[in-house]
Structures are given as structure tokens and as C-alpha cells.
Symmetry: C2
Subunit: 219 residues, 2 copies
DNA sequence: TGAATAGTGTCTTTAAGACACTATTCA
DNA sequence: TGAATAGTGTCTTAAAGACACTATTCA
């Protein structure tokens, strides 16, 4: 019978991104169990078939366990597998990536934020997962409202401009950026809400939709 | 111990595309075992951890079992999971899609080609897998050499033009298509090889690379 | 010859990007 | 006032797409 084949271990791993000090960072958790006990790694865990309705729910459970909150954006990335990626045996990891606005992070959470340029050596194949997640993030940033999910609910046009530049990794002309974002209808001004400083106050905006909006053309 | 959690069933399913009579078709196999014995479904099977090095190898094994050949293009699509998608229990299916040039198909193979517009009712969540595979195929067709993998090793510019139109689903100006394809350097003319008819013979081309080439801009 | 497909040159439209400018606040 | 950030209008460049044309074969 087919069903009697020995089955792989099934887990989920999550690459959690945030922007801290104008830099793209990854949230890493110190492992509390072997293998690699005490080492910084992507938050993850086994799928619990009694409680998880699918692997996305398992990823949500892992994120809630580490951060105490739900990620505003969560997407399945890729499934990694093989006999050698985990010393416990032939395993499958369904990898996810998520965007966490910095204002949702608190001291109490069991994670450390590390800039993606200075990541420590990661256990398992987590480095590969992270690289692929960054590639996906950069790719989608050019063609969608994705980077906006790294911002708090209210933000200025320049906040958005900066976050797009940080995720894409290139300079974008300020004026052209404004023209194009406004054409896309992904954000709307919040009536009578401005943010000031020693300069002209900036209009505050919010997303028009809580879902990711793909663009026809690039930003 | 974490390892003692009950593990899901782990399988792979493959959406195999080909072009027959100018139409995008899916290769379906009649199931030889329960559940859904005798029903047309995506070729698939359980991951065999003793012989498969990863899920991609499992997908290759499934394709070789049905077609006796390797697909020139194979890509992981998405991982589907949950307690209800398979009556045998909580399961994970790592779905793949592949492109099969029509000249590699023979009568002896254990599959039926069905145009994607007239698919029968499919078991499990195979309909969802197919829909997502078509979406991915159309998406990548605009930005890469992907559709060329549906053609035999040698083809004319007009073969390529037609296959792009069939996979993308829209008309493309013939002259502009030629300009843009030649700029991309994905194909090269085969010296002194032409295909005739009752008309001017057409230059035969081949791919410059066996790998998928992404384009900077759309075709 | 003309029917059929192959292949080229060039114009128009539209998107992407650059840039010069004006606006409003506070110190 | 000027430093600082906010915001607008318009020009340039380049890509996408349309179109008119020429080329070569066979019946």
C-alpha cells in the first residue's frame, strides 16, 4: 500500500522582515532545543496536524508564538526538502516570509533584529531560505504595494519613498515616485492628518486595501 | 520530544503542459489505485525518502514513470496542505509544473492530453493546482524564454511567435515580436537550416541556453 | 503571375525617468 | 531670512506597439 511509506518530517520556517534604522532587518530567534540549541535561526517548528488547518496556519502559529502578533503580510515562499537539511532525518520545510512594521515590535518579543547585510551563520539551510526570501521581496517591491506593509498604518509619502528605496535597493526619483504611486491608487490621504517638524507638514496617507496590490508597470 | 508529533502524508503532484493543435493542453493520468480509482488526475505520488533526494527528484521520478522522459522545464509551483484535500488524511502536496514539447509525446505514454479550456472535473484540489500553474505559466511567459520550452529543439521564428501568443493568450505584433526576441539573445539561427513549404523557407533557430532566461522588459 | 509565409524599416504612442521649480513650516 | 522637507509641472529618453513595406518560395 502506498500509505505505508515512511513519511518525512514536516515543518515550517519563517523569514520575518522589518525596517529598523533605515535598514532591512531579519528577526531571528535563539533555538531553545537541539539541534543547534542556543543558535540564532529562523523561527520555525513542526506542523501540528491536530491543530493546524494548513501550513499557512502553522506559520501563523509560529509567528504568534514569537511575536505575539499576526503579520500584516505573510506569503508562502518555497518548499525545501532532502535527507541532509536537518540532522533529525529526511525533512520538508515549507518556508514563508512575512513583513512586520517596526511599530509592532516590542522589547519583550523573543527575537533579535539583524540587518540582512550582517547576518550571522545560520543553521540548517536557513541561509538559502533567507536569500530566496530577499530575492522575492525585491522582485515584488518593483511591481506591487508590498513595501507599504513594512510601514505603520499611517505614513507620509516620503516614508513610503524611503521604504521602497530600501527594499528595492536603488534610488528612485522623488517626483516620479509620487506621480506613479498616486496613479496606482494604492494609498489615500487621511483627511486633516499631517505630520510636522521644522518644515512644511506632510500629508499622512493610509493603504486603500489591506491586500497586496500588483501594478501594471514598475514603480 | 518534537520529533514524535504525528506527521502528514507527503506527496508531489505535477501539472504537465504541452501544445497540441495550437492549443495549450494538460497531460492527465487515469488513477490506478483508490481513492478516485479510474479518474483522470494530475500525475503524482508519495515522496519516497529512501530513493528521492528531494521533492524535485520525486517529481522527476513521477514524470519519468508516466512519460518515460525528463521534462525540459520543471519548476516548483506551490505547496498545498490540509486535513481535507486527500481522504487518506492530513496531507501536503508539493506541486510542480513542467513543459513538454509535443514531439516528445508518444502513443504509448500513460497520459491523455486535454485542452485546458475543456478540463474534466479533477479529484483532490487538482483544479486549484492547475489554475495556479496556468497563472504562473502566463505570468512568466511575458518576461522570459519559458514558452520556448514547449517547442522542439529546432523551430522557426513563427513557431515561437505562435507559442508565445498561445501561452500568453493575446495577439502580439509579428514584426515587434521578432525585434524584441532577437534583442534578448535567447535564440540563435542554426547555420544553413531552413524549413520550407509552398512559400519562402524559414530560418530554423535553437535556444542559446538550456536554462530559462528572464527578460528585463516584457515581450 | 499570385498565394503564402518570411522578414525589414520606421513611425506613433506611452511609460519611465530627470529636473527645475514652487510651497509651507520653524528657528 | 534661510534651512528643511513637501509637493507640482514639464521635458527627455526609451520602450512598446502599430504598420507599411520588401523577399522568396511553389503552384
Amino acid at each position: 500500500m502506498e500509505q505505508t511509506y515512511q513519511q518525512p518530517l514536516v515543518m515550517v520556517d519563517t523569514a520575518l522582515f522589518t525596517i529598523l534604522d533605515e535598514r532591512l532587518c531579519l528577526l531571528l530567534a535563539r533555538r531553545r532545543e537541539p539541534p543547534f540549541e542556543g543558535v540564532l535561526a529562523l523561527p520555525g517548528g513542526f506542523v501540528h496536524i491536530e491543530e493546524d488547518l494548513d501550513t499557512t496556519m502553522a506559520a501563523r502559529r509560529v509567528i504568534r508564538g514569537k511575536l505575539g502578533i499576526d503579520a500584516p503580510y505573510l506569503e508562502q515562499l518555497f518548499t525545501f526538502s532532502g535527507p541532509a537539511r536537518d540532522p533529525r532525518g529526511w525533512s520538508i520545510s515549507v518556508a514563508y516570509y512575512a513583513l512586520i512594521p517596526a511599530d509592532l515590535l516590542t522589547q519583550s518579543q523573543a527575537v533579535e533584529a539583524v540587518p540582512v547585510e550582517t547576518l550571522p551563520t545560520l543553521p540548517f539551510d536557513h541561509r538559502q531560505i533567507v536569500d530566496q526570501a530577499i530575492e522575492r521581496l525585491r522582485g515584488k517591491a518593483t511591481y506591487s504595494s508590498l513595501p507599504a506593509f513594512l510601514l505603520p498604518a499611517e505614513f507620509t509619502m516620503n516614508d513610503l519613498h524611503r521604504i521602497y528605496q530600501q527594499t528595492i535597493g536603488t534610488r528612485l526619483d522623488q517626483a516620479s515616485f509620487r506621480h506613479k504611486i498616486l496613479e496606482q491608487d494604492i494609498i489615500e490621504p487621511i483627511p486633516d492628518r499631517f505630520r510636522g517638524g521644522a518644515h512644511r507638514p506632510a500629508q499622512l496617507y493610509r493603504l486603500t486595501s489591506r491586500a497586496l496590490t500588483p501594478f501594471e508597470r514598475k514603480i
